[in-house]
Subunit: 534 residues, 2 copies
């Protein structure tokens, strides 16, 4: 099954590579600054229109297919991706400067994720069939036969992340969860790794062929400007949007989607500062261990994770000083990292300089910019009253840095973290010397503001499983009631439909009397796999 | 348990009736035009602020309570409502001009609905606990213990409907489903039935006392202008909005919620034209029966249902002519109805006159306005090409009228209904003479556009049960992936939270090892009620 794909810089529209658009751009290596051929075309409205036309036609064609077909597709995508192997890894290294080990691990995770959604698709659990049977004798009026199942929404736009070219990219969680329930996808390539995106799109195209599904089910439009993103979100055929990236980018798409004549939901995961709360007992009992773990979580992958801990709250005092020293030692030891792109590097530099220069902020580890994209780790500290008064210090700084917020005591700590915005995660470290009431108080404040609450652990490393939530209140996401990772992510791209008094043959298979798909269904309030005798 | 409440015209804030605000209004009877005392206060920002302050404080107080407490509350609301009995029915008759029989039925339905959500709350099914256990041996890194459960979002704003003072009012489905999962509610009273809303709020207040829950869990602010609605949606403590009403009203709230610094979801159910498709066999085989049923569905309750069939598509010809005659006969027989309010009456009159005067529209039953709020039923007809070209003919006309759209043939019929916007419902009538392929084609087009697909039946009459969907693509609602009726409605007001490596005592009860709530949980992918041995 080995195969190759020679990069074209083109869009993938209805199974064809279309080299056209309104302009083109030359990608370059963040490591060396060298150009990375080929040039990449920037889609205009004609390309976006063509991608949605193909997606809409494909959706009409596949709406009646049984759910296991989507499992077959996702498994085929996983196989095709793995077969691309070295070509994919080496292009990703060139485009993102991420390490080979990291990218090999991310590719494995992406394949695991595709298989998780394949299993979910095959199980049909997301269909959630519910049947309330007719009752001719009910007073004052007979009750009709009512059956409900979840159905795909239609074409979904996917905007992948720069920092995870595979796992949150063109074949990542948004695409996998949208395809898992039978939605066509129109993916917008990320300008930072357009080549990887093209390779991933080529893998999906082959997989569609393997699974005997229409090529229009997946399109890729490339582009770096805001115009192409706007066109993708504003197209009338678009039913929902998945996005991973910056707050500014996600909010802009959300605003456009909400302002459409027919608004559509935007599931934007926009990052977070992922507060860490260190209770006094933990700081006193294990400063070195926490410093080592925290340093790794802050600097691993250049700190370019949406779950990087950007704020660390603790009570001031000698223990805190010892901890800050230990953390500083760890961070000084970290080798400088090349960040994902020139623009991310420039943004990080600007943000780090602003943090270091803000009134009341002390620089504990100064880091340094080594060349255009290479940065050392930085550590800052500030008093809680100063932090509370300066909203600039509450926002995410994407890159290898973190800010210690020194509180007067545990009471001040609780009052300070109550000022936090919505977060993907919140973590509490407690020691044997910490009072249960303090742990509960802090945990309750973080739980109200976060999608994932962590005890004595670090937020980086997002498991792909049923129980995970990678989401949270705004500004972590634009949809606090959803997750972009894990099985629950599929709910973003389905809607419930009810069928009243339909003849059996017209019902979706999941609702037919004989239960031909063998699903567990809720019939008159009771779960069962039994068929129905009408 | 019998009790009474003397109307005050005041807001309910933290358990107290507060007669204050920026102005007051004098409600009047749509039947007689007479004033209905007392005057009703219009809330200003101080009242809205106070209601949310109470709601936020109450939420912090109740976040840890087990789910059965919400079941107890909803059952107490049902009892308190029924005990109000005649006082509630007679005030509703005076304010809305709806008949006693209709209101008695609606109250029974509202109580059934409260009990459905009480059962759901007690079952804990909505918590959906999922546990993925730790795996210390996993490579390349150990897997943490991850547990997920749904949690209440926080204070929910509810804007009830004018046409269902009980079932979609202050104690209606939005309030019941928000309270069922432990969210405080700030309800905005409807100016058309402010007295009913006050009585219902008094019932909730008593029920909170019965259930030993804080009074701040439910607030009522009265008002008729857009300012109070805006203040309710824009308050920083508001986490989600439930709305039932007009497209203009729902969209305005949606736009405000989306433009907030921190956007929140709006679940607005905004009505629909509920297309009915009559295939030629059905029209030929049972014109009189369909005409009788359709007439009832169009005119019952003054046609003031969001599920009223406002468009009827059929192929032109002698059978269609016979059907139109039969329908006209039925509609002429219907007695004039007093509509809900002067503004609804004026709007209906304006819309009916515009429909009758539109180019190419024939008036088959002219109806008539009898006094300020009393209207006869109206029937119009138009050719499909004219209908397609005039978007004004696609919109809902709230009141006792419907529009026949005469198509050239079944092919034209399919192409015509493909121009429909999103709908709450779509219905197909087929006879023995209709080809299976035609039925399937039409059903597929409607299913794509509707929340509920009906075969040989009428859309009015929304069952309260597990399988129902009262929702649909925009403009039927602002959230096509949700329903405002039935058990699934609770999902609007919860969000998933994941707990990583939490000690057992800090976990929500639903996730604790011993399974103290006895819930079915998904543990490592398998459903079970077993406890966990750590």
């Amino acid at each position: 099954m080995s195969w190759t794909h020679a990069l074209t810089g083109a869009h993938l529209i209805n199974g064809e590579w279309r080299a056209a658009g309104v302009a083109f751009a030359q990608p370059c290596s963040p490591e060396t600054g060298e150009a990375l051929p080929p040039v990449v075309w920037e889609a205009g409205s004609a390309e976006v229109e063509a991608a949605y036309a193909a997606a809409s036609a494909a959706f009409e064609e596949v709406r009646g297919l049984p759910h296991h077909r989507w499992a077959d597709l996702l498994e085929a995508v996983a196989v095709r991706l793995m077969d691309l192997g070295d070509a994919l890894i080496s292009r990703a290294m060139a485009e993102t400067a991420l390490t080979e080990a990291r990218l090999v691990g991310e590719l494995a995770r992406t394949v695991t994720q595709l298989r998780l959604y394949a299993d979910l698709a095959r199980s049909g659990a997301w269909l959630e069939p519910v049947i309330d049977r007719a009752d001719q004798d009910r007073k004052p009026a007979p009750r009709p036969d009512l059956r409900r199942v979840f159905r795909p929404v239609g074409p979904v736009a996917v905007f992948g992340a720069g920092n995870f070219p595979f796992a949150y990219g063109v074949c990542g969680g948004d695409t996998a969860s949208a395809l898992a329930c039978g939605n066509p996808v129109v993916a917008k390539g990320h300008p930072g790794h357009a080549g990887v995106d093209e390779l991933c799109a080529a893998a999906v195209l082959r997989a569609l062929g393997d699974a005997g599904l229409p090529a229009g089910m997946f399109g890729l439009v490339q582009g770096s400007g805001t115009a192409v993103g706007a066109a993708v979100v504003e197209h009338p055929a678009c039913e929902a949007v998945g996005f991973t990236g910056s707050l500014a980018g996600g909010r802009a798409l959300f605003d456009r989607a909400a302002a459409r004549p027919r608004p559509i939901p935007v599931f934007a995961e926009m990052g977070s500062v992922n507060p860490i709360v260190l209770l006094p007992g933990a700081v006193r009992e294990r400063p070195d261990a926490i410093a080592a773990g925290l340093c790794l979580s802050v600097t691993n992958g250049g700190g370019q994770f949406c779950t990087k801990p950007g704020l660390v709250f603790l009570a001031a005092g000698p223990d805190a000083d010892r901890f800050a020293e230990a953390l500083g030692r760890e961070m000084r030891r970290v080798a400088p990292t090349t960040l994902l792109s020139r623009s991310i590097s420039d943004n990080f530099h600007r943000r780090a300089v602003a943090l270091g220069g803000a009134v009341g902020v002390a620089t504990l580890v100064a880091g340094c910019r080594h060349g255009p994209c290479r940065h050392g780790a930085r550590l800052f500290a500030v008093r809680s009253d100063v932090w509370r008064a300066n909203a600039d210090l509450h926002a995410e700084a994407f890159g290898p840095c973190t800010l210690l917020v020194l509180c007067r005591d545990v009471g001040d700590l609780a009052a300070t973290i109550a000022c936090l915005d919505g977060q993907l995660t919140g973590a509490v470290f407690a020691g044997s010397g910490d009072a249960d009431v303090d742990v509960r108080r802090v945990a309750a404040i973080l739980e109200r503001r976060a999608g994932r609450l962590i005890m004595n652990g670090y937020p980086t490393g997002v498991e792909v499983c049923g129980a995970i939530v990678h989401g949270g209140p705004y500004p972590a996401t634009t949809a606090a009631n959803s997750t972009s990772v894990g099985t629950l992510a599929i709910r973003r791209f389905v809607r419930p439909v009810c069928y009243q008094n339909l003849p059996d043959a017209l019902l979706p298979q999941a609702l037919q009397d004989a239960n031909p798909l063998g699903l567990e269904r809720i019939i008159d309030g009771e779960p069962t796999r039994d068929p129905i005798a009408r």
